[in-house]
Every structure is written in C-alpha cells, then in structure tokens.
Symmetry: none
Subunit: 403 residues, 2 copies
C-alpha cells in the first residue's frame, strides 16, 4: 500500500455522478492512406459536435510518451491508477478476460492441455484440440478434483487448448514458477516458490497437476496440462477505498468487465449496442456515483484497418448519445483507452482525444471533437491517470487544498 | 532539507531583474452565465494586448490536476516551491495573514477568547465579543505575560473573538496538540507533545494559558482562551538560498505579505492601487533582483461572482501597465495564483493563464492574453512550481547543463 495521494486525501463523498465513456482504441492518426483525415474527422457526429462546444478538451497519454499500452494498463490509467506501478499477472488477466471474478487471495493460472508420452511433453498444445474437447476435459477435471487440501479448484475452458485454473483458499499468494518448461521433450516442471510465503501455493499447484495427470490418463492427445503466469489479484485499493466511489461498469467484453471488477466496480448486465449500454446507465443512474461504459467496436475496426467501420462505429455512438444525455452527470468524459490507428492496425502510443463536460468544465467552444481540436483544448496533454482527479473536481468531490 | 534541484545547481547571480505580477484568482471559465466569455476576453486591454504579441504564453496548474488550492499553496507554487511538500500550519497562516513576521524558530497559534464557568468552557467563542474588547484583552495579556521562561510572548488581536499568540525563543518546534477541546462543557485541554522535541513548546503553551486564565479572571465573557493549529514557520530554504535572489514583495493584503516573508522576501511599503504598486516597483528597481507584485481585486470579484467588477479590475491593471513597463525587467510574468471563476464564486482547479515576456522569450504572436490563447501558447500547460525556472532562464540566470 502506498500513502494516499493528495487527491485521495481531498476526496469527499457527494451525491453527484461521474460517467466515463471509453470508445476502445478511439484515437487515430492522419496519414496518406486515410487521405489525412482521422475517423473522428470523417464521421458525421452532430450530437458529439453539440457536446464539444460545451466541453473542455485535451489529449491523454495512456501511460507515458511513446508507450503503447495493452488494454490492462490503458484502463488502469483511466481508472486513476498509475499503470507503471500496478502489474496485473497474466493468469489474472486471462481469468478476467474470461469473466471469472477474482476475489482477494485468489490465484489464477493460464493453463492449456498438452500431450504427454510417459513423463515427457511431446506436444505443448495437444495438437490444438477443438474447444469442445477442452470443455469436456475441463468438466472432468473440475468434477474429479474439486479441492486440494483447503483450496477450492475452479476451472474454466477457453478457446482451443486453453483454460484457466483458479485456486481459492487461505494462504495463497503469487510468486511461484510456471509448470510449463517452455520446451517439448522435457517433463512437466515442478512449480517452485520464489519467496517463502509462496510455499503453499507451489504445493497446491504441484498437487493439482499430479492429480490431473491421473484423471487425464488415456485421454490422448489431451493427457497432460501446463500452467503459466500463476498470479494473484493485484493488491490495490479499489475505487471505493481510494475515491469514495460506488462504481459500476457497463461493458460487454469479458476482459473489460474483468478489469473493472479488479478495481471494485459492480458489473451490470447490459445489452450490447451503445444505445442498450446507455439504457443500462439510465436504469442504474440512482444506484451508483461512477459509471464506466465501454464500447469495443472502434478498437476492432482499427485493428482490422477498416477506416469505414471505425467511422461507422463512431456514428452509431453519436446516434445513441441522446439516450445517454437523458441523465446528465456532473462530469462526463468521452475518450479512448488508447489509440488504434487504422493505418497501423495496432494499438499505438498516440495520445487519445478527451472531451470532458460538466457545469463547471469551462467551454472551449471547439466546433468538433477530433484529435486536432483536442490538441489546443484547455486540458492540455497529460497522462490519463490524472483524469480521475479532473472528473472528481468537476463533480465537486474534491475539497480545497490548504487555506 | 531536500537536495538542491537541478535548477538550484545551475542558478547564477546576475544583475538582471525578474518581475512576477499576480492577479489573484485571474483565471476564469466560459459558461452560459457569462455568455461564454471570460473576463480577460471581455475586458478592453490595449496595453496587455501589445505585450501579448511579444510574449510566450501558456497555462499553469497551481498544484496538480483537479486540485483547487488555497492562497498558501497557490503562491508557494509560483515562488518555485512544490506546494504538496511544503505545509504551512494554520497558526502560521493566521499570523502571516495578520502581518506578523515570523522568524525561524517562532511558533504561532490561532487563538480566541472563550467563556469559562469554573474549569468548564461554556461558550467557545465568548459570545462573539466586539473587536474592541479583543484588542483590550490582548493588550492586557501581552502586558501581564511578556515572557515565559526564556520565551517572548507576542499577541496580536484579530477580528471578533480571534487573536494570534506568537512564541519566540530557543527550542520551540511544532508538533503539539491544541488546547481547544473542540467541544463546550469540557475543560481547556493540556497541549501534549506529539514528539519528544516538542516537550518545551507544550510546556510553554500550557504555562501561557494557565497564567492567562489568572489575568482574565473576572473578565467575563472573555475570561478564557483556546489555542489551535500551533505551528512553526516551515523549514524551507528561502529564495536567496535556493535561487540567489534578493526578492521584494509589493502586496497590500496581509496574507500575501506573510507568504512572501516566509520565503525570504523583503516587504515594501506601497500604495494600494496597481498604479501605486508599480510606482513602488520603479522606486525599488535598483535594490532587488526579483519582484512579486500582488493584485487582489480579481479574486474578490470572482468570489463575489461579479463579472463586471473582474473585468474592471483587469482594465484598471491594463491602464496602469505602462507605469510598470517604464522599467522592463529581463523576465516579466503576468499570471494568477489560481482561477476564481465568476460562475463558481470559488477558487477552482482550472489552469491559470500565463504571459511571459523578455528579450529571449520567443514571441507567440497571439493577439490577446486570454485563457484560450494561452491554451496553444509555446509554454504549454504545466505545474506553476516550474515557473521560477522559466523566469530564471529568461533572465539569463541559469547556466548550461552539461557540455
């Protein structure tokens, strides 16, 4: 636990609402291939334009200059965490990505089936079995090994040969080595504790795979399993503890729901379109003080390099915006978690455009919400981990500092 | 004492002059209530406009994103201190605000008269006596208790029931508890040391209020006193030590004079209007290398929500500007300590506009000095604690770093 930041010391609980809308991968770049227009510039967005005139605008660096973030760090920044300081283990990310809610003290591993010959791994991916086979094997494992000592074993199948093993019980911590030797022709590795406190975790992990080998005996090609990235939920204070916020997440993709749950948000059931997500926001407006609404389509279009589709997702968002605005929070931000420029077909380091609106935001009077207009907005260019303080301030939730 | 910063290591003494003009609470926001114009935008400022064309412009965060500062932290930032690291106790602020110059080692307490019945506090504010009564009682106390052990007692009356007790003598440090129990129906509390070094301070504080009770016996309703926020001058290196600057302050309000004295500025006698303050600057130009000129009216207008008055103070400042410019320093900054937007009637977190002019500032060629023009200036948006380095650099007082 680090000492509370100045903002955490100043934060007050009030009845005002904050809403953060994240269009995943929203930011883009002008290039010859898109005729030097970004999707935000090309899209017809009458509702967003009207909002822009009332808003304060700026751009945010997801992590730092030149750093291209994955979805984990990018969202942690938006939620007010320093993404350089909070590390999310691969097992936890995988579990979060599969909608498994991790409790404090849980340990999760990325797992996959492999093929053994005697004690030797002969195919690390078990010949890439169909997902149905993995589902069947996972059911068998969970039924056969419900617990080890006082630890509950929870197994969830993923795609192909992949699955997640989640261990829940007292005394489990991360800091153990993989059982995957990362080479074929070797036996499964013993998990070893990297520090004394992790001895129990290593013992449970090793007991699990030994029992699993018995269960999987004769089930070629899925007669073995490997575990990697064995990790525990990061020990971070949640949004309630840090900012006195009862927070809710409206997201359709498992990974973003998982990330939201890691910082203490309640996950709301929702339809998949922006309009349906906004209806979920309206229906829950009275119950929470902070809403995170995630829209995935912009990122997928960017990764596919589909300029037209990214424009179309933005226009679909714009058309749904009046639904959201039926309940205007004290502070509303529209932004991206990172840029996914169509010309690159990848996440990138480019700062994301930010629009922030509220009664005291100060209107920049910009005609549109685009990357270029944001460059000269009153919010400047800053790291996204500071967005939370701006939202809290605009919502009247920060006390004055000093006399 | 922290290690010297890079800027402190590079600083050189030269004969050039720096002038920092602070229009208190200058920054504002566009809102429906002001027809989307800030006072700087609405004011007629021909002299400032002419200066703007030659200037480098930008915006400054007084403390950090979203943080609304009081005057203390806001000015410490402008003077080159990190306001998150320098804490000014309530007693020191109160003493500074009443124009009491605190020396190193002094300890000050916010004090007020109360009404006692036997050993019990029956009215924590002594029925809010008129100021005249407090003046009379303070004179009586100071005459009756000039010293305790080797400690001099200095007392200054404030408004209503309030006054300040300043203790001057060897071995005094902050870190003692209040004598105010913060509830009626209780006796006066013993001040307790929170660390061993503060034992003498607690002893003197307790001896003072016991003697004072004897002096005030029979003087109902002002027959008792309470002390809070017992604190010492912050242990910070002054502007001379850090930046080799002989600094002078031209300010009319006690609090700003107090803050200036805390960082080692000489307080100059001055008339109250901007024009008179600028005449004071001209008269002292040869004697100091750094001038802090404080203009209060903008903040008061903002706190009253009086758009017209804020415009008028800015226009009055603009009309006086030619007086200031009779002696052009190597680096001149015009800015605010924080924003006090008229629509909010409060200090706020919004970045303040900054104009910096000097022979080598680089002209942004902006037509006017407004918040919006500053958004796209060459100085960007940065924390005000960095302003000192920019002023020193423009004044040719910073050596090259490295070869």
């Amino acid at each position: 636990m680090t000492a509370p930041s100045l903002v955490e010391k100043l934060v007050m609980h009030t009845d005002s609402r904050i809403c953060l809308v994240v269009l995943d991968g929203l930011g883009d770049i002008r290039a010859a291939s898109n005729k030097y227009r970004t999707p935000l510039e090309a899209a017809k967005t009458p509702n967003l334009d009207a909002l822009a005139r009332q808003a304060a605008m700026g751009r945010m660096l997801p992590v730092d200059f030149g750093v291209t973030p994955g979805s984990g760090p990018a969202h942690l920044g938006l939620f007010g965490y320093d993404p350089r300081e909070v590390e999310i283990g691969r097992g936890v990310l995988e579990a979060s990505g599969m909608d498994m809610i991790m409790e404090k003290g849980d340990v999760a591993a990325r797992a996959n089936f492999c093929t053994m010959k005697g004690d030797t791994i002969v195919d690390r991916r078990a010949g890439r079995p169909p997902t149905e086979r993995t589902i069947e094997m996972c059911r068998l494992l969970e039924k056969s090994i419900p617990t080890i000592e006082d630890v509950k074993v929870i197994i969830k199948p993923g795609l192909g040969h992949r699955f997640v093993v989640l261990l829940r019980g007292p005394g489990l911590v991360e800091g153990v080595t993989d059982t995957d030797p990362h080479h074929e022709g070797e036996p499964i590795a013993q998990s070893k504790p990297e520090r004394p406190e992790a001895a129990k975790t290593a013992r449970i992990v090793n007991a699990f795979w030994r029992k699993a080998l018995d269960v999987l005996k004769g089930k070629e090609p899925t007669n073995g399993l490997l575990m990697r990235g064995i990790s525990s939920r990061p020990n971070i204070a949640d949004l309630k503890e840090r900012f006195r916020l009862d927070a809710a997440a409206i997201a359709t993709y498992p990974m973003y729901r998982g990330l939201a749950s890691l910082v203490g948000m309640t996950l709301l059931d929702t339809g998949k379109t922006p309009s349906e997500e906004f209806e979920t926001y309206l229906a829950n407006y009275d119950k929470y003080h902070y809403f995170f609404i995630h829209i995935k389509g912009t990122d997928e279009a960017g990764e596919d390099g589909s300029f037209e589709r990214k424009v179309s997702v933005i226009e679909q968002f714009d058309a749904a915006l009046p639904v959201l605005l039926r309940k205007q929070p004290a502070a509303l931000a529209v932004t991206g978690d990172h840029s996914t420029p169509c010309p690159m077909k990848l996440h990138s380091w480019h700062p994301v455009p930010l629009l922030l609106v509220g009664p005291n935001c100060g209107a920049d009077l910009k005609p549109r919400f685009t990357e270029a207009e944001c460059n000269s907005g009153s919010l400047g260019i800053f790291e996204s981990r500071h967005l939370m303080a701006l939202l809290l301030a605009n919502a009247g939730k920060l006390d004055k500092f000093g006399a």
